[in-house]
């Protein structure tokens, strides 16, 4: 019986694991594992005996994938990390996303430069997913400030959604064999054409099983004041699709900023979605007062959640994979900051408390009930 909440925390200095009973009164921290090495993605694969995975992105010796079979008490490297074919000309620069594949033991891994790999043996060997990695657009994508990364992998049967920065949203409807750019309504602020076919700086995409045709996107916003070619493009930062990602529309009205990185859907209500708006110039919380914003009607309106959070003089960033929500009956929202704080918002974000306040800068937070 699943009775523990497990948090995986990828930081600039390794991965930490925090564990609590379901009441989540206190979390015990262990780690860092892969000490001193940045971790941009983690995954708790809870099919069968849970396995915890963490990318270990070593700037000196290359990329590794760590795996734990004891709920994050110890980690070992898998036999291999993804790697490009020798004659491809690209070299693995980072591992940005890990997700479960369809079959037991199957993993999907999004990397930099933006490409997708698949493992059939729990990460010991990898094959490139050609349909996206060698897509005709692949050599035209440009890196954003964080690098050219494939950061979002969403599977919905034979329909796969990928988020690439900067590349945009790519959709497969044949189980990952072929992909096409699907960015109608997704704006770009850093090109004269406000709505290009591809090249958008998508930050994160989220969905809920109960509303399979609906997707939410945190895009690179903050372009309301642009006066150059193509004109201003307000509210392009937070979007929704109701047709499986074929087209998108803004739901940013009512937010203090349409810029941000993370977006999360409530585990029991497809209409409830969370973002953490940031000022586009500084990428920190508006006015130095952090808040999560929640919509309970699919983005038609938003309310500010800040009880327990600092009220002033707070200038952290929350990165694209650093906010998540658990699946318990009354779920808790979690986010990690670039200043090393891990916050938990009980009752779906109604009241926040700081679980850990001096971790290394946090890149990634995932949660599972195991």
């Amino acid at each position: 019986m699943a009775d523990r909440v497990l948090l995986t925390i990828g930081t600039r200095k390794g991965v930490f694991v925090a564990e609590a009973k379901k009441a989540r009164r206190s979390f015990a921290l262990r780690g860092p594992f892969g000490p001193g090495v940045p971790v941009y993605s983690t995954l708790v694969d809870d099919r069968g005996t849970p396995r915890v995975y963490a990318s270990s992105c070593n700037p000196f010796f290359g990329m590794k994938l760590l795996c734990s079979t004891d709920l994050g008490k110890s980690f070992k490297e898998t036999a291999k990390a993804p790697e490009f074919p020798k004659d491809d000309g690209r070299a693995l620069a980072n591992i940005w996303s890990l997700e479960m594949g369809e079959a037991k033991g199957e993993l999907l891994c999004g990397v930099e430069p933006a490409s997708l790999f698949r493992s059939h043996d729990r990460g010991d060997s990898w094959e490139m997913v050609q349909g996206i990695s060698n897509h005709e657009h692949a050599r035209k994508w440009q890196p954003g400030a964080g690098g050219l990364c494939l950061h979002t992998i969403i599977r919905d049967g034979s329909r796969w959604h990928l988020g690439i920065s900067t590349g945009g949203h790519y959709l497969s409807e044949d189980g990952g064999q072929t992909f096409r750019a699907s960015n109608t309504g997704v704006g770009a602020g850093f090109a004269p054409d406000p709505y290009p076919e591809f090249g958008q700086c998508v930050h994160k995409i989220a969905r809920h099983d109960d509303a399979p045709g609906r997707l939410y996107m945190q895009n690179h916003g903050g372009w309301a004041d642009w006066t150059g070619p193509g004109g201003p493009r307000p509210d392009i930062g937070v979007l929704r699709s109701d047709d499986y990602g074929h087209s998108w529309r803004s739901i940013a009205k009512g937010l203090p900023s349409d810029f941000g990185f993370s977006i999360v859907v409530h585990p029991h209500d497809a209409d409830t979605v969370y973002v953490l708006p940031l000022e586009p110039a500084t990428r920190t919380c508006p006015g130095g007062a952090p808040a999560v914003w929640r919509s309970e009607n699919g983005g038609d309106s938003w309310s500010r959640l800040s009880h327990g959070l600092p009220k002033k003089e707070t200038y952290f960033t929350v990165q694209r994979d650093a906010m998540t929500i658990d699946g318990l009956k009354t779920p808790a929202l979690y986010f990690g900051t670039t200043t090393g704080q891990l916050w938990m918002g009980r009752e779906g974000g109604e009241s926040f408390e700081c679980l850990f306040d001096s971790l290394p800068p946090i890149h990634n937070v995932k949660v599972a009930v195991v």
């Binding site: 700037p59 000196f60 010796f61 290359g62 790697e83 490009f84 074919p85 020798k86 491809d88 000309g89 690209r90 070299a91 693995l92």
Partner: protein, 95 residues
């Protein structure tokens, strides 16, 4: 054609798990590139820590032949002679 000179490769602690824990390896190679090729054949896990998929030396890794950084010599084409010591070390960087 003569036999390639035998050189000693020194490895820092973080690389030793990839070659059965040893701190040094003897390799017959006439250039640094040839030594890396030898490692790719015989020590594949170690090699992946030294070079990326394109065969390029990892950016933050320094290679010394005796006391000289190969960057100041002929890079990976630096020639080796019998008894040379080749040392791989992570660059001083990070924060």
């Amino acid at each position: 054609m003569g036999t390639a000179p035998v050189v000693t490769i020194h490895l820092p602690g973080p690389l030793r798990p990839y070659c059965a824990g040893v701190s040094r390896l003897a390799v017959a190679a006439s250039t640094v590139r040839a030594a890396l090729d030898r490692l790719e054949q015989d020590q594949a896990a170690l090699y992946r820590n030294l070079c990326d998929e394109t065969g390029a030396l990892r950016r933050h890794l320094n290679v010394f032949v005796n006391s000289d950084n190969v960057r100041d010599l002929a890079g990976v084409e630096t020639t080796l002679k019998e008894g040379d010591v080749v040392t791989f070390l992570p660059a001083v960087s990070g924060g």
